[in-house]
Assembly symmetry: C2
């Protein structure tokens, strides 16, 4: 997950669709969904998929050698799980590499600092006095040239909540902080990790440099190291040496990997669910986002095991390179925008592996009753219908901007930013029962959306690109 | 803390002292102790000392440049805290350095593994098939030569409890595992960290190679990496490349740093309390053992603030190089063994910063009543008298073997092995209130032991070296 809070805001911009015949879900479909729900809670397919991806492929940075292994893994896994069509679609993007990264306090209190380069950072070694800012606004308010020859340090501590809402701040410090620092003359950038843990596992994530600025080495400190640097700065001036070997290196073509369970009567119409296949390189990408891949592959698999397929096709997408700019989601939107009306609805699982607690769709009034029917089928899983909330998952958002209807299955992210983009994002952090609850929810949602009489409001519209 | 469980066993070997006049603590001393206890709970000296050492010195591996900074820091801190005598005593030991460490799975599932070299490991690069063992006994039971050209992997998961009792197993796997592996022909050694956490922060710690064996590169995997390697091995043969740059490099002379609050009537007799000044290099040594230094410096300081000093002297020792073989404790015992009877009693704080829950001393029958008086003064802190339990702290144990009476102030170590010898051993892990409870307990104990009428059984005896 990259910038979900910003993307959620998109939902408010979606216009209500024109009035049409109300969408409804037949009682027989609801009965099948209830059986699927109970079956999914007892099924460990999702767990096995996550275990397989995180173990056999491991870390899979977009563009790395593991990217190709991950795509091959996904093709093989879709086939093994009985999907009846499996294919790939190309996704091209610039390739960023991390080679080494070190930082240390220099002077009277010499000691190493645990850091990780932000994705997109250039390499380089800088040694300079550090200037601390409590948050991004403080950095942006610094006088022009006041950081000339200095390293900026934004020391904002993210707070945890179920919705991960403070990532709005943490994510902005990562994406916009370096450019703000460069504008004030800084030659390097440090930030307290956008995270809520207390471990020596810094949080990486993509950053961008505004046009016309010369990028500077930019890194995140583990939270205990940010504490330490802050304590040292309270004693007087502190010099830090920051040495990064990383950077952009050509381009790479990866793949969106797609598997389908063909619909029985409207096979050209698809319900899209998915997660992203790439991860950051520090962990094995268990919660971000093997979980999403496992949840949605398992949901498709369980629907595929039914004697009678739903009316529409279930299309599961393992998106390429979400982390560095929604490349997979953008490529899918570009390749399929002409078919937006054939897309019944879409949902991406990309906020970890915590239990789903809320549900909504972008459906217009004509499909509100059907949305509520799905919500009622999800309610036994402890999921609340929140008809005014939500937004599309990251890789769904580019297509949602083209008019794709979206569903929101909100995961409990209280612990998400303890692990997000760190070395600690590993399989042991996932609760198999919570994962099964996710699989049950996606199975019920996808089946009912695919079996509904009528649509959820997908229609071609003018593009409003995500504001990120 | 290095091998406390083994050292605790020592206590059973201590003979009861000859009968003598019962030791007693005057009511006036108990009244002062009660005031000290309440004062200590409100005092933040211990916290400030820990903050200062971990921040200003940071990691302080024995023999590193930070070792000398730590000793200078301790001299200055004792003086600043009003100790009336401050001096150092030399401690010489071989110097071990960590320069770099890498490991990776090679082959069909290539991925990095998070490891750290065991202290004392030689450098070197080995690449070989891994053979997993569930525990040390399984490794020791392997057929001769069965590991020829292979890397041994002992995959034992330590369990957490208040007493840290499973460190008996975890510590043995670290200290004895490499030699056991070499005897079977192994060219490298990996172990699941002797830890109870689930983070990518491997646990270092000293190992030793038995005489006559050629040491091999030896490292600990973070627990998620041990999980990962185990899962990969369940799929088939796995090759790992282990590359360590580390090793012994000459010798170094550090210092035990000692501060005293002079006694009012028996100044030549001393109550010894302390912690160890060195740490491993991965964290800032907050719980291991800035806490012990802070607790005992603060206790001495608070006693030093009294209008009337206790009868005997309070001697606080910041021991050098505990981690690599109790060098500071051994040096102190060697230098002071002729004066064992002038040592009233000794206690080291070296099991983190959790609350103290139990108390005992090695005192013979003649001082049991006084021990119980101290226990009663500690009871309001939630500390239980456990008259059959305990043992000397690590650096006290060499002198205890010479006849020093010891006190046991047992800290809650439930979380200790989440952090022990890892990068995560940082200040943020310490609860200031729990630390103050420790200071209160050491203050009460040291004051009452110093003000008692009579001794606690210290007497010269034949040396029984610690069995480690």
């Amino acid at each position: 997950m990259r910038l979900a809070p910003l993307l959620i805001a998109l939902s408010l911009a979606l216009p209500a669709a024109a009035a049409e015949k109300p969408t409804a879900i037949p009682p027989s479909s609801l009965a099948v969904a209830a059986q699927l729900r109970e079956q999914a809670l007892k099924d460990d397919t999702g767990w096995k998929v996550v275990e397989s991806l995180t173990t056999e492929v491991g870390p899979r940075l977009a563009g790395s050698e593991a990217d190709a292994r991950a795509a091959a893994w996904a093709v093989a896994k879709f086939k093994a799980l009985g999907f009846d069509k499996v294919w790939t679609e190309p996704v091209t993007f610039p390739k960023w590499e991390r080679r080494s990264e070190h930082a240390a306090v220099i002077g009277a209190h010499p000691q190493p600092l645990t850091i990780t380069a932000l994705g997109g950072s250039p390499g380089g070694t800088v040694q300079a006095e550090v200037v601390r800012f409590a948050d991004l606004a403080a950095l942006e308010a610094a006088p022009a040239d006041s950081l000339k020859g200095k390293i900026a340090f934004v020391d904002y501590q993210m707070k945890a909540d179920r919705a991960g809402s403070d990532y709005r701040n943490g994510g902005a410090i990562r994406s916009r902080g370096p450019s703000a620092a460069i504008r004030k003359g800084a030659i390097g950038y440090l930030m307290r990790s956008a995270g809520t843990d207390q471990h020596r596992v810094p949080h990486t994530g993509i950053t961008r440099f505004d046009e016309g600025l010369t990028p500077v080495p930019s890194a995140a400190l583990a939270t205990p190291d940010a504490d330490q640097l802050s304590r040292l700065l309270s004693r007087g001036p502190i010099t830090v040496k920051l040495a990064l070997d990383c950077g952009w290196d050509g381009s790479y073509t990866s793949q969106n990997v797609i598997g389908e369970i063909t619909g029985r009567s409207l096979p050209q119409e698809v319900v899209v669910i998915g997660g992203h296949l790439d991860s950051w390189d520090l962990g094995t990408g268990a919660i971000d986002d093997a979980a999403g891949v496992g949840i949605t592959m398992a949901a498709g698999h369980l629907i595929g095991q039914l004697k009678q397929a739903p009316k529409r096709t279930i299309r599961v997408i393992a998106f390429a390179n979400e982390e560095q700019g929604l490349y997979g989601g953008r490529a899918y939107a570009d390749q399929h925008r002409a078919d937006v009306r054939k897309h019944q609805i879409g949902a991406e699982s990309d906020f970890g592996a915590g239990r789903i607690y809320a549900f909504n769709t972008s459906a217009p009034e004509s499909a509100r009753a059907a949305t509520q029917q799905i919500a009622e089928a999800l309610a036994p899983l402890g999921i609340e219908y929140q008809p005014t909330k939500g937004g599309p998952g990251p890789d769904i958002s580019p297509f949602a901007a083209h008019g794709l209807a979206w569903a929101w299955l909100a995961q409990d992210g209280t612990d998400y930013f303890n692990l997000h983009h760190t070395a600690d994002d590993t399989l042991d952090k996932i609760d198999p029962q919570a994962l099964a609850q996710n699989v049950a929810a996606y199975t019920v949602f996808a089946y009912l959306a695919a079996d509904a009489d009528g649509g959820f409001g997908s229609e071609a519209k003018e593009v409003t690109p995500p504001n990120e």
